[in-house]
Amino acid sequence: MLIKLLIKNSLRHKLRTMLTIVGIAIAVIAFGLLRTVVTAWYAGIEASAANRLIVRQSVSFIFTLPYAYREQIARVPGVETVSFFNWFGGVYIDKNQFFARMACDPNTLLDVYPEFITDKTDFENFKKERNSCIVGSKLAEQYNLKIGDVMNMDGDIYPGQWQFTVRAIYKPRDKTVDATQMFFHWAYLDERMKQDSPGRDGQIGWYVVKIKDPGQSAAVSEYIDGLFKNSRAETKTETEKAFQQGFIAASSAFISAMNGMSFVIIGIIMLVLGNTMIMSARERTREYAVLRTLGFSNPFIMVFISGESIFISLLGGALGLLLMIPFVNGFESAMPKGWFPIFNVANSTIVLSMVCTFLIGVLASLFPIQRALKTKIVDGLRYIG
């Protein structure tokens, strides 16, 4: 019955409570959206494996490395597999259709990226056919691509008309894996370069090195870079995580601002709820005095006021969470394709939202509690709200 009293009190001013709940819900949605954007930004880092190293040109990622390095890197102690990739670019359908298109080594692709789950027969077919490609399931869904379909592309970094036949589709092992990428045979690219742009052949973008012991990553990296020191194409080897972090370092100020914004929103929710609770508690000054006269203790009054605050806060939080997923999905649809390959409301965002709304409920009740307990019973009984 006391819980009933708490709930009924919360809903006594229906319009005010409803507006507060809607306010909290909107703030939770905004908080969730910002957190999701931040999470999406860090998705590459989340998906990084500890046993993968990236070897790139030391000056910049955009410069290529000789394919000939492969054998030398493979002989480095502690190295298990060496794979390589080349950014292709190109235009598919029109310039607004952005997704990662890369040349790869089909024989080692799944060795270094076991998180790509694909049909074995399809993958064997992909390996056999030089102008074939493998695409992520999300990409296939987006462009309605099926096995056997042909993807026509206009080259930009590598000029000319390019045709790729879809021979395999990979599914991500979990939500952190990007399923919007397309890979094709590096040999196909290299062959065209030999014909059309002699001098650009025999080059790759970066090596992905799978090592036996993640604890040896620093030593292996140093060893690899030492191999090519003072060569025409010196290397910079780092863990996949460091490599991904380097990518987003340029936008760190923006991410920090987004992070800051998300917590400003938490502050706004607290003010909204705090205002409601202060009004409610003031109106009930006499009722709290009556409860205390009847023998309800100060801890009970504390639980009673904070319970109401937490109840309203959690209702708003729950409504916000309920609407957050469709809202985030809608936001993703409204954005240009490929901006965020992985754009999901993370479990941590859901937990953080609920924890924050709970804490806000507690914090917003502190001042009303302090006021209710500070008021003498005799003064409370005389209060006219």
């Binding site: 019955m1 009933k4 009293l5 009722e287 009556v290 409860l291 203790s297 003498k376 005799v378 009984l381």
Partner: protein, 223 residues
Amino acid sequence: MPNIVEIQSVSKSYKRDSLTIPVLQNIDLNIPEGEFLALMGPSGSGKSTLLNLIAGIDRPSAGSVIVGGINVGTLNETALAAWRSSHVGFIFQFYNLMPVLTAFENVELPLHLTKLSKKERNDHVRKVLDIVGLGDRMDHYPNQLSGGQQQRVAIARAIASDPTIIVADEPTGDLDKTSAGEIMTLLSRLNSELGKTIVMVTHDPSAAERAHTQRHLDKGALA
């Protein structure tokens, strides 16, 4: 009859900014068990303050208030709250019912502070609502009841936990003459049939006449 309330040399003053306002001065009063006492006096004479001291919702500035053998002024807030819940039934002028609870739930409210089971609480509430003549209105909310009925619910709430003493602050002050008469009859019955000690503050001479004893306060002193 032994004294249920013993007030010895009690003074009470309030501070407003730098001013100290004396309200009660050197009060001595003994109330025997089973007494029905009416405290009368003009506004500002200190009768409600004295009632609040007896009920343990305020503390004396000097002297002692002993109710049922307990020196109320020495109890800390938590102990005092527990003491009030089991020893004092309070009836207010403006009823002070919880508007979101039914008559039944309002009466049940103080019983949540006891160890009674749900069934025992239920039986208790029905019994006291029958005593005050509202057995058929237990599902009504306060705004669905008249003033007199609301005060009867408040009386039922005051007696629900079988307190040692009932204190009533102007219980008829907000009621018409008929309702006031009904309330006074009910209080008289509680005193005569159930043996409840009642201390009532009133301005109304006809209400005071129903009490066994009348004491008058004037300028903070008992006449």
